[in-house]
Amino acid sequence: MEFKDYYQTLGVARDAPAEAIKKAYRRLARKYHPDVSKEADAEKRMKEVNEAYAVLSDSEKRAAYDQLGKGYRPGQDFRPPPDWDANMEFSERGFSGAEAAGFSDFFSQIFGRGHGMPGGMHGAFSDHHARILLDLEDAFTGAERQVSLQAPKVDAKGRVSLETRTLNVRIPKGIREGQIIRLAGQGAAAHGAKPGDLLLEVAFKPHARLHPHGRDLHLVLPVAPWEAALGAVVPVELPGGTLNVRIPAGAKPGRQLRIRGKGIPSDPPGDVYFEIRIVAPAADSPRAKELYEALRQETDFDPRKDWGREP
């Protein structure tokens, strides 16, 4: 097991006062906040920062860590002396047992124990929550997926480790983002209690063209200027099959077309929204240039005629 240098993670000196540790943590929590961070590995870094702070912000844990960590370098193989914690009790503050279970093996080897759940939460961790990432196509066809879950497991000594389980899950046709699949009796087993339910939150992997919004699908439909001007029927590949979309003559860019009932299957099924985007051909041949030239000479088209009329 690798030794983790929590001081290095937070970028503080080993004798840093509590106030400096809090300040460093807040700076990094802002930098790696997964909702706003531009860093590629924000989520992973945030977890490391949380773990380091869970130890260094707590005087008992920090003292124990300092004592155990004497002489260790980051990444070096770490072995705690046998029974070093025989008489130590750590009170849980801030981070819940379930969150702490997501911390590294290094953390749980030293501090991870089954106790410390806040009062009034009897059995609360017997449920379990995870996200499942599906392809949009799965919503049209239904699917079967294997889900690997890491769940905290408490051993006889009261230490928490992560156990990986694999489950087969049937994804019904018509599933939507944000829905929850409940697997009865597949949750984490609380100490002595019967296992709770496993709640799987559904999310879709990003699709190149199609953007689900509830039951509906949105997509941008590129059309040629003459298709928009004269009208056309354009075949569009969707997970449910090919849809022939009628572009009305005189369609303006940005206009939205709705095809009812062709979104995610359901009762009622969702709709598909097409936003028309006009793509002009490049004048990349003498003939194409001639055609543009003819258009220029034979129409009095002014794309900027509305300028000056605006308030």
Partner: protein
Amino acid sequence: MSDEEILADACLTLEQLCAAASLERDWLIRHVEEGLIPVAGGAIAEWRFTTVHLARARRMREIERAYDAAPELAALVADMLEELDELRARLRRARG
């Protein structure tokens, strides 16, 4: 193969949300009663939550903890992050 069930859109009970997001029951009740996590009225046993509530509750708790933030401030940040999510989703749809 296990027994699975798709829960309706607003479906999680207080206990299920607490378990799913590792929240303390008292914390969640306090925040709902103060209007910081909007839930349709009624008795506690009738409250039902969605995955949007789940994300919101997690964010607020993280902000409160990381910055010792007042719950109202955490709720304001959560409001803005939700708006950001919505705008990002719209931008993805518009970009095609």
